[in-house]
Each structure stands twice: as C-alpha cells, then as structure tokens.
Subunit: 301 residues, 2 copies
Amino acid sequence: MSFDLKGWMYQRQDAVERALSQWVPKDAPAGLGEAMRYAVLDGGKRLRPLLVFAAAEVSGGARSLWSHEAAMRAACAVELIHAYSLVHDDMPCMDNDVLRRGKPTVHVKFGEAQALLAGDALQALAFEILVSGEPSRVPPAVQARQCKILAQAAGSNGMAGGQAIDLAAVGRELPEEELRRMHQLKTGALLQASVALGAACVQLDEPQGKWLMRYGQSLGLAFQVVDDILDVTADTATLGKTAGKDAAADKPTYVSVMGMDGARSLARELHRDAIAALACSGLGGTAALRALADVVIKRDH
Amino acid sequence: MSFDLKGWMYQRQDAVERALSQWVPKDAPAGLGEAMRYAVLDGGKRLRPLLVFAAAEVSGGARSLWSHEAAMRAACAVELIHAYSLVHDDMPCMDNDVLRRGKPTVHVKFGEAQALLAGDALQALAFEILVSGEPSRVPPAVQARQCKILAQAAGSNGMAGGQAIDLAAVGRELPEEELRRMHQLKTGALLQASVALGAACVQLDEPQGKWLMRYGQSLGLAFQVVDDILDVTADTATLGKTAGKDAAADKPTYVSVMGMDGARSLARELHRDAIAALACSGLGGTAALRALADVVIKRDH
C-alpha cells in the first residue's frame, strides 16, 4: 500500500494547529497575545513540525508512552522559533518586508515595537513548552536534551548566526562554500534540529541517529536551494511573500552563484543524498521522511 | 561577625564575569559574537546573578554537589536574559536610547539589525546554558525546572508582557494597581525568577520556598520604585543611562502617580516586607539576601 502523504500531513498539521492555538496565549497583556497569535496561527506549511513527527515515527527505535507528547511539544516549539524568526526578519531594520504568507507582516499590522516584543515572547514560549511536560510523562532528561538541541539551532552558531552572515553578505560576492555555511546556519540548522528533536523522542542507536542527522542536513540545504530558485521563478501571489527580493537586495543566492541549471542540479543531488541516508540508516517506517524530502524539492512555494 | 557584603559580592561578580566571558562566544559569525559580548561583558551590577547565589546559599535546604554549578549556570542565564532585554529595549522602535552603562547602546555601535540578532541570540544562549550541564552533575529535572522558571519570567506573562503594557501606557494615566502589575511583569518577574532559580539549587520545603518567593516579589517591586525615584533625582552621569527619560516620554511612574514622598514611603514598606519574609521563612544563612535588599533600596544608580 502506498503511503498516504496528504492524509498523514493533514492529521498532523491539524493537531499542531490546535496545540499551538492552546499554547500561544490569548490573554497576554496589552495586545501582545494577539500579535503572537497573528504571527503563528493560520498559515505556514508546518514543515518543521512535520519533520519532528516523521522522525519520531520511524520504527526500529523504542517508542515510549511519552513519545507522542514529547513530539507534539517539540513540533510546536520549533514552529514557534521559526515564527519568531520570520517576525524579526521582516522588520524594517532587517528585510523590511510587508507581506508574509499572503498577509501584512506583524510590524505592519501591530507596529514595530509590538513585533519586536512578540518575537521575543514567542522565543521564550518555545522553550517554556519544551520543558512544561509533566516529569511523570516526559522524562526531564528528554526535555533538557530537546531544549539544548533547539537552543543551539536557534542561537549564534545556528539560525541567528546565519542571519548575521546574511546581513554582512549584502552586495558582496560569496564563494559557494561560504554561501553553503550561511544557509546551513540560517535555514538548515532549524530543519536539522526538527529531525533531531523527533529522533530524541525514540531511542535510536548511534549510527541510526547519525544517518538521520545526515538526512536532516541534506534536506535543510536542499530547502534553501529550492528557495533561491523559487525567488527567481515564482510570482509573489504563489509564494505568499515578495518574490525576487533577494536579487533586488543584491543578496548572493545559489542561483546567482551557480546559475539556474547548477542550482537545480544541486537540489536534485541533495535530495538523493537525503534519501540515501535513510536507506543507509536501516530504519523502518521512513515513508513520511522520504515523502517530505520530495515535498521540499517539488514545492512551488 | 558582621557580613562582609563587599567581599561576598566581589567574589561572585568576578566569577560570573569569567563564566560569561567563557560562555558568550567570541567566534559567532559575522561580528555577532562581538555584539553579544559588548552587550553582556564589562558593566552592570549583576544584581540578578547575586540574587541567584544568595538564594542558593541559604542554609536549611539540602545542598548537593551540583548546587554550585546549577547556581552558576542560572546566574549567567538570567543575566543574559536581562542583557538581551536591554539591547532590544534601547532600540529606536522601543525607548530609542543611545546610552547604557555609560557606553553607546548596541544598536548605536553595531547597527539595528545586528542589535536585534544579538538580543535574539543572547536569549537562546540563556536557555542553552541552563540545559548544558552534564546530566551526571546537574540533575536533568533541575535543569528542566530552571528552564521553565526562566522562560515563564521572560515571556508574554513576564518581562515581555510588562514591556507591552509599558508601550501601551505612554501618554496615559495608569492607576497605581495597573502600574504595579506592569512593573511586576517588566522588572519584577525576572528578579523574582532569580530568587526562584537559586532556590531550585537547594531543596527547600514548601513554606520556606513560598517565603523566599515573597521576598523576591517585594524586592522586585522595590527595585522599580527606586528606579522611578532615581529617574527624577539622579543625573545621567551617575545613572550611566539617560536620566529623566520617563518624564520626557510621558510615561507613568511611581513618582508621577504617588508623588515623591509616596514613592519613597512605598519603597521603605516593600523593603520591610522583604526582610520580614526572610524572618518568617525560618531559614538560616540569609545575610546575603538581607544585604541585597538594602542594596536595592539604598542604591544611587
């Protein structure tokens, strides 16, 4: 029987939506909760949560009673980090973007100061959710481990560091190696962390875990290469964000560095790498991970 | 023998300075590490770390081999949250301040975008430090508990929420009760969390813990009342930040709401509350906590 990706995704996207709606507070003071919910709820592909679930569902590791709750908390936490990064990234002092997921960006809707605070509060909430599981249900060692994975991926040697390279790179030519490092941190670190957060919900032996990380690394980079391709080929309506903005901002991209053909061929190569890593892992139950790799390559937004 | 506060403070400030210098990365990409270190190192009274240590050193609880490491990690983590909040607070879209601890603010020195990223990365680092203790040394349950205390204090129903009220309050008259709630969140939550983080390093029984929290709450509020008094009475050179800026920004303060005499009398009352809570706790070894309450009331900057 073939894997029903649509059904699998729908169920999990729906569950994440409901969990986020419950966890992102309605009643935070002075409109802050409203801004946070606007930034997080309703929209987004939820790719990172889906990766958490897919990794947590591989067979071959030991699944426990707490695996499901730990995966759900991690799925929401990583999405909150992603959402906060978009809010801050869109601000005037960064990318100065007015459109996100087809809606006005948070600072356009709520003002810059509230956007700054909403991003800050979403980051804190991500860590709070990870460590708020009842110790009787999710072992504290798992909570602490997931918290460390997420903090490292979000911080100065992860996403924030990648954004700093991005800032410094405007108007400069980057060699492909440096471009790869920028993206590995800026986008790749959090995608890879999603896989690692899911893997932390099941006990894998070390080689299995390493192959999963390899999958996450290839997938993370493939995602960014495809992003750069779409920035050139897709239109604003399809993307739900401003198209062509990297070229307009004179930012180096895979397309500007390798040409369109080179970028497309790199994306295919990274996709093959990701699938091969799953095969090498010897793990069963990887249909969702394989299908998500296809989604990343074939997406049009 | 009387308590040697100066010696006690100096030793711990020095240890925190060294730990922070080790933990805040020099080598984060594209100047990000430099901005983070500028925001954190060299300056600051380190009041929050001192509160962590003072609470972790009360006698009457069970001290373990890991208590010292857990207190040091928490002391640095809470200071990183405090430092990130100052960086974001000073930005043009918030308080638009150019002077902090007698130096140009981070966005003046490194640009707005880098300041935004440095703040974001400092918050992530705070949580990373809390959960990076070897599980063999700091029990994961303590790591997870401290992480939850800090995340709640920093988030939308803590510091970030207080800042949102502050934003919304500019130019409005606030009744004293609402002013109190704003400060309890904006400044009080993190000061109270410092005491709670320290208390988590020793096992206290429930009434002892509750009295310590009461101490933290009174101290946190007293801190803000004194801040408002100093904003009127001190000059910019003594404060190391721009004096009179609350009045200039038409922000409600304890002085504007209660008058100078009322604010001074409230500060004294809160100080008495804090000291009384320590007495009620029945804990020994509270000399440092008592001395820090005096410091908060009697400080001139």
